[in-house]
Amino acid sequence: MAIMVKTDICVGCGACVSQCPFGAIDMKGEFAAIGDKCTLCGTCVDVCPVSAIEITAEPKAAQADDITAYKGVWVFAEQRGGAVAPVSFELLGEGRRLADKLGVQLSAVIFGTGIEPGIKSLIEAGADKVYVYEDALLNEFHEDAYADALTELIREYKPEAVLVGATSIGRAFTPMVAWRIRTGLTADCTSLDIDTEKRQLQQTRPAFGGNIMATILCPDNRPQMSTVRPGVMKRLAADPSRTGEVVRKKPAKPLTSRTRLHNVIEVAGHSINISEAEIIVSGGRGMGSDKGFALLKELAEVLGGVVGASRAAVDNGWMPYPHQIGQTGRTVCPKIYFACGISGAIQHLAGMQSSDLIIAINKDASAPIFNVADFGIVGDVYEVLPQIIKQVKEARG
């Protein structure tokens, strides 16, 4: 047990009870008492006005290496069929900023063969160096082979920070790498910063479905690893005059995997990846039918966006599951999110509330979706949407 309330100092004010993110503190008589739900997050230590709560020092999660040997910022560039995922360019923009703050190089890592244009685009997007791990197996995604390749590169070249897009692929294999290297990995970050003095990456992410934010550090292990949500970081304008070094690496013997890919099936009408869309037009039960969704598709089309759905709409069969947004669906962070006929249940908000701009259309003015909306329109979707479609078309000429 590493946390304690000093009852000689505690004044029983209860500040810690109301602030504990895990509801782990109760008043026992005159003093605060910390129960089993405690995760040692330290919030209570900060809020206690009289410094009565203490977390005692613990042995450190040891890593055999000398952590000062780790230098430089890396971005994992995810590619499928030779095309680099948009999130990788966003991370190069952010990685550039962090590397400049630390005064180190920014490198990109890319896997596979026949990806020369991709390599060039990474340098244009801000990388000083590109590590190319050339092995044909990596043209397909295999959790273990991807983990093998990235682990090998990290062990050899020792970066201090590694950023990976929080895509299906990134979130599947990066935890395996962190496990092997015995380092920390923070999932699905939405903002990053650097403490330049301690060279610590401050990784901020939503938890509890976006109801609280947590800033996570990895003080004693390297590299500091994060997966980063698509759509939140800004890419740099491509600069074709930039130059960079390319380091090619081949495995001693071709990589193998214990998984075998039989088939890749693209879901029809879903060629645009919803987690990376800039504009999402979502509908819920209030859309009433397939016909309602036809309106949403039309609006998405004129705006150059994609269609999303609440669980109620998916359960009704109006949209397939990959379009579901929320706690049990996808988490998205587009520039504009339209919520049409969606009430704004907490599970839905969990998947979309960090969008840049939220526009809600609902006939019930008290619907909770309006609490997170930047612009609210109280009205019937069947009356409002056709007008918006018409006017956007006119504005576009």
């Binding site: 395996m176 496990w179 920390g184 109801n211 075998r260 890919l261 088939n263 990959p322 504005a395």
Partner: protein
């Protein structure tokens, strides 16, 4: 086929309310539930067992009251339950959690398949499943949406990717994580509830597991929570009034102003 299913007790998000004044979560009296994603893992484990025979064990690391959740799993049809519980596990990040759960699973009879939920709704990390796989040295497949075929030595599944899905075959033993789409979890049966009632779960401590102290709990966690805070309050909330045509034109004008169109 011996199947282990990893389940976690989490606060019920649908009971979590936000205080509009302070924009903080109100947590008083929020009940603890079985992580929604893990209900799909439990269902899948039971239905695989029903097809090919074998035994399903639910495994959790958590406080003593997590027994209630294990009993729920048993009432759904899980055969046995393991609780890993020790004050020394507190403060575990995903690394230390994967380490501890791996030790718990090693205590079971030879396991052929380990099923986890896609993610736990309190931390939303989705890192424990792959962590367990590495800890046990097993292959891993993420985001399984359908089990197509299972033999003694292989499992063939459909797994979600960004723009569709892949059909993947993996050798067993293996670890998979499952998404909501995979099934509809069954409700507890009467017979199951009776069994759950009489089930005794003896918690395993760090010492029982032979855990290395530097690898568990806060001490074993490379990541540290630096601060926790409420998300910044959303900017200008604004209702757009008028007839539909007027609302639409005001909205389009605003989007132009913001240069987002």
């Amino acid at each position: 086929m011996n199947i282990a299913v990893c389940v976690k007790q989490v606060p019920d998000a649908s009971e979590v309310k936000i205080d509009p004044q302070t924009n903080t979560m109100k947590r008083e009296g929020v009940p603890a539930i079985l992580n929604p994603f893990d209900t799909y893992a439990v269902e899948e484990a039971i239905s695989i067992k029903e097809k090919v025979g074998g035994k399903v064990t639910a495994v959790t690391m958590g406080p003593p009251q997590a027994v209630e959740m294990l009993k729920l799993c048993v009432s759904m049809g899980v055969d046995d339950a393991t609780l890993l519980s020790d004050r020394a596990f507190a403060g575990a990040d995903t690394w230390a959690t994967s380490y501890t759960l791996g030790l718990g699973i090693k205590k079971l009879d030879k396991v052929d398949l380990i099923i986890c939920g896609k993610q736990a709704i309190d931390g939303d990390t989705a890192q424990v499943g792959p962590g367990i796989a590495e800890n046990l040295g097993l292959p891993f497949v993420a985001y399984v949406r359908k089990v197509l075929d299972i033999t003694d030595t292989t499992l063939t599944v459909e797994r979600l990717i960004e723009d569709g899905y892949e059909v993947v075959e993996v050798s067993l033993p293996a670890v998979i994580t499952v998404v909501k789409e995979i099934n509809t979890p069954r409700l507890p049966s009467l017979k199951g509830k009776m069994r759950a009632k009489s089930l005794e779960v003896k918690p395993l401590s760090a010492a029982d597991l032979g855990a290395i102290p530097e690898n568990i709990g806060l001490a074993g966690s490379p990541t540290k929570v630096f601060k926790v805070f409420s998300p910044p309050v959303k900017g200008q909330r604004e209702f757009i009034e008028g007839e539909p045509a007027e609302q639409a034109s005001k909205l389009v004008a605003k989007l132009h102003e913001l240069r987002v169109l």
